[in-house]
Structures are given as C-alpha cells and as structure tokens.
C-alpha cells in the first residue's frame, strides 16, 4: 500500500483538537458508517470568526489526519476564509495524500462547511 507522509502520520498519531465543544455555535456531521468514514465538527464562533474547533472522527488514518489539519486551518479564520478552504488545501497542508485517500480530505472540507451552515441556520442567516 502507498504510504502516508510524515505529516499525515503526525496528525494521525497526535491529532490536534480532538473532542467536543459544549454549547457549540455550529455542528456539522458528514459521511456515514457504511463507507467507513464519519466526521463530526464543532465550532465556536464569535464576531464571524472561528474561535475554536474540535472534531470526532470514525475512519482511517487519513480521515483522522485531515480532520485534525482542517481544525488547525480554520481556527482564527473568518467564516468566509474558512469556506474558501478546499479539499486540496487540506491535502497539501498534509504534504499530500495517497490517491485512494483523497475523498477523506473532501470529507474534512465538507464537515467544516456543514458546521458553518448549521451556525448560519441557527442564526437565521441563510
């Protein structure tokens, strides 16, 4: 099997921002257990800026690493900036992913998007 980059392994072995946020302002959940990937993303948002992000993931090494990297990329960003993050931004930040694992980075980006949409919905901004 094609190996993971050191950065992917680092984010898998020592994931950043694992957990839940109580009273999160937005929560997004994507994927499904049948495919073997589920990501749940929690956001704390103040003045249109992501103050904190935490995640829980059921999935492979790449799924965990992309979740972890996605939280690092969005903390401190405005919602617009966070929405601009694409799956390839996440993959590049991890020094790349094996081709069969690219869908995992897609999932991470979708989880962020879903959490922001949840926040907007709650605040009647949609």
């Amino acid at each position: 099997m094609e190996g993971y980059s050191n950065k992917v392994m680092d984010h898998f072995m020592n994931p950043r921002n694992v957990g839940e946020i109580e009273n999160a302002d937005g929560v997004g959940i994507v994927g499904n257990p049948v495919c073997g990937d589920i990501m749940k993303m929690y956001l704390k948002i103040e003045d249109n800026v992501i103050k904190d992000a935490k995640f829980k993931t059921f999935g492979c090494g790449a799924a965990v690493a992309t979740s972890s990297m996605a939280t690092e990329l969005i903390i401190g960003k405005t919602l617009e900036e966070a929405l601009d993050i694409t799956n390839s931004t996440v993959a590049e930040a991890l020094d790349g992913l094996p081709p069969v694992k690219m869908h995992c980075s897609n999932l991470a980006q979708q989880a962020v998007k879903a959490a922001i949409e949840d926040y907007k919905k709650r605040n009647g901004k949609k």
Partner: protein, 390 residues
C-alpha cells in the same frame, strides 16, 4: 530510530522463508543454472531437482507425482483450475458453483468467465462462515461442471466441510476444486481423504519462496493447458521452470507437513490466548468466524465504533504487523466481502482486525499484544463520534 519490539502477526499474508529452504534453493540460483529441458549434465541435474520436489509435494498431499503441476502462485493455480476445467468441459455445460467467501483469485476468475458466457452460482455461508450444503445441492444442475470451495478461509479461518462436498460432487459427477492455500501446513491436507479433483497451494504461505504455487490435478481430469509454449509441466504450463523456487516449495512443504499436530497445537495455544484475552479485556468486541472449525493460527475480531486501518497504524507504531478487512485497507469503498457474507453490518466489518500466528511467535508476543491493544482501542473510541462513553 530507536529499537522497538517487532512482532509479526500476519502469517496469512506471507511467511518468512526458512533458512533450510533457502539453502536448498541457492545452488539453483548460482552454479546449477541449467535449463531442465536440456540433455547435458547441467540440465539433467536441474530436471532431477524438479522431479524430487514433485515427489516431495506429492508425498505431502498423498498424491502421485504426475498429478503435481508447478505454477507461478496460488492465484495462478486457482485461475488454471477454474478456467482450465471451464474451457475443457464447456461442451458438457457452462455452470460453475462456488461460495461467496472465496479468495479474489477464485471470485474474480469466475466473474471473468461470466463475461465469457459461463453461469456461476455463489452459494452463501452461515454467520460463522460455513457453506450451506443444502443450497449447494440445490444449485446443482445438469450442466454443472465444477464446484470450487476453499478448504480454509484466509480472513476468518473457517474450515469448510470439503469431504461432504466431495460426496455431493461425486454423486453428480462434477469436478471438485479446493483452494488450500491457507490450510496446507496448518491442518492435514490429503487429496484422497478430502476427495478432491483439483487443489491449489502456494509456496510463500508455508515458509517457502514467493512466486511459486502448485496445482494438484487428479489423473484423468479433463483440463485445458494454462500457458501455451514448450513442453514443460507435460505441455500444460509452458515456460522454462523456475527451478530454485520449485526446489524451495518442495523443501518447504516437506518441512511444513512433518509435524502438523505439534505446529498446530503451538498456533492454537497462541490463538486461544489472544482471543480470550481480547474478548475479556475489551468491550463491544466480537469474534468473526467459527469458534472451533477455524485455522489454528487465525484470530479475526471486530471492534465496534472504530475503523480497522486506524488500528493497524497504531499497532504498527508499537511494532505489531497485522491485517484488517476494512475498506481502507482493501483499496475500495467496501469492506471485506467475507465479513459482509457472514452478515456483519458495514460499520462492524470496517472495524475488524486479523491476527495470524506463525512458527516464531511466542506467548510473550501475545502478552505484549494484550498490553498494547486495549489502550489503542480505547484511544480510537474516544475519538469516534459513534462511541458514547458512559
């Protein structure tokens, strides 16, 4: 890199070549390079070595030497058995019966034949992985030419009732093939006792070299040649023989079948210690496969709420090599067809771990595994959105 304990628990994937086997092979990679088809001494010596290996394999399987054919792998043997019988007997019929937990070497060959106009029935197994004999009987038709059922499964280790299947096949005069790649060396494999017409095995699963396999073809079986060319393997599998590998598989099978009860008892002790320890220490866990009718060295366990590749990466970081039936390790989106066939829901199949023991493993290895695995599972579960800690 600091030194770390290294424990290999993936003997169903491959095994380490034995020194004794290597030593018998080396002369044929160096000075004894003759082509076995030539007439001078150098060639005759090579031919003699192949003949000796054929006898060793025949003796191990209780077959006759002229029923042993060397191939390039277990997969090739499976391909040859299925396609060879299909092509040679298509006037009689174009129907083949197999199970839905076969190795891909069988399943993908059958799928290929389906495109060529053959009809395949995939008989289901029960939730411990044993083939349903009633459904097998019901699947038989006047145009059925072959039944192919593996002797032991590579993922869950379930051992199939081949002798009973043989009775059914004989009654209907249908050829019976068995893929014995995982079974040879671990349990007794006697072609007469099993009553099979064709049997596949592989060198590298029995501490022999990679790149060599065997197909046993019972005398009188109508089968097409597999590779066309020169007269090697009695015109059925052409190409200059891989003499060193053939010598290696002969020695390997001789050693592997020397004392099966002792080897099997060693494996079983480790297997049962691992199964018992894991099921006792870790909640939300289930054993996949049959509790007794399973290979002595096979452990296959599902851990709820987590995914297999993550377990493998964590184990690897602690020096343990293992395998899983999760989609991520198969390179597709679906988890193992075997685990789905025994009725596991997708999410449970994704969380499976296969450990297969071998000769060099010890109780110390199992102890280390039982210390290492629980915190890994706990850590991954804490990260899982499916797991409710309470």
């Amino acid at each position: 890199m600091f030194s770390m304990r290294e424990i290999y628990l993936d003997h169903a994937a491959t095994t380490k070549l034995k020194k004794e086997v290597l030593n018998t092979m080396l002369p044929f990679l160096t000075e004894q390079y003759g082509n076995p088809s030539t007439i001078y001494t150098l060639g005759r010596e090579a031919k003699k070595a192949i003949d000796k290996s054929r006898e060793q394999v025949a003796k191990a399987l209780n077959a006759k030497p002229n029923e042993i054919f060397f191939t390039g792998s277990g997969t090739e043997s499976d391909n040859w058995a299925i396609k060879g019988i299909a092509y040679a007997n298509k006037e009689k019929g174009k129907h083949i019966i197999t199970s839905n937990i076969e190795h891909h070497a069988i399943i993908h060959t059958c799928k290929f034949l389906q495109k060529e106009g053959f009809d395949i029935t995939y008989v289901p197994v029960d939730n411990e992985g044993i083939i349903n004999l009633e459904e097998l009987k019901m699947a038989i038709r006047p145009d059925t030419i072959l039944i192919s059922v593996m002797l032991a499964n590579n993922e869950i280790g379930t051992i199939q009732p081949i002798k009973e299947i043989s009775k059914i096949a004989k009654e209907h005069r249908i050829y019976l093939h068995t893929d014995a790649v995982q079974a040879v060396g671990s349990i007794p494999v006697d072609v007469e006792d099993l009553g099979v017409d064709l049997l596949s095995l592989s060198g590298h699963k029995i501490y022999g070299p990679k790149g060599v396999g065997v197909l046993y073809i019972k005398s009188g079986t109508k089968i097409s040649p597999f590779i066309h060319g020169g007269g090697q393997e009695r015109g059925k599998r052409a190409g200059t023989e891989n003499v060193a590998n053939i010598v290696g598989i002969g020695k390997a099978i001789e050693l592997a079948t020397k004392d099966i009860p002792e080897y099997s008892a060693h494996l079983q002790q480790l297997r049962d210690m691992a199964i018992e320890g894991i099921l006792k220490q870790i909640p939300h866990t289930r054993l996949n496969g049959h509790p007794e009718k399973r290979l002595p060295g096979n452990v296959n366990i599902s851990f709820e709420y987590i995914e297999g590749e993550s377990i493998l990466l964590m184990l690897d970081s602690k020096g343990i090599s293992a395998s899983s039936g999760s989609a991520c390790t198969s390179g597709s989106l679906d988890p193992s067809h075997v685990l789905l066939a025994i009725g596991l829901p997708h999410e449970i199949a994704h969380g499976s771990l296969r450990l297969t023991f071998g000769e060099e493993n010890t109780k110390e290895d199992v102890k280390y595994l039982l210390e290492t695995l629980p915190p890994i599972i706990e850590g991954l579960r804490k990260m899982s959105p499916l797991y409710n800690q309470s």
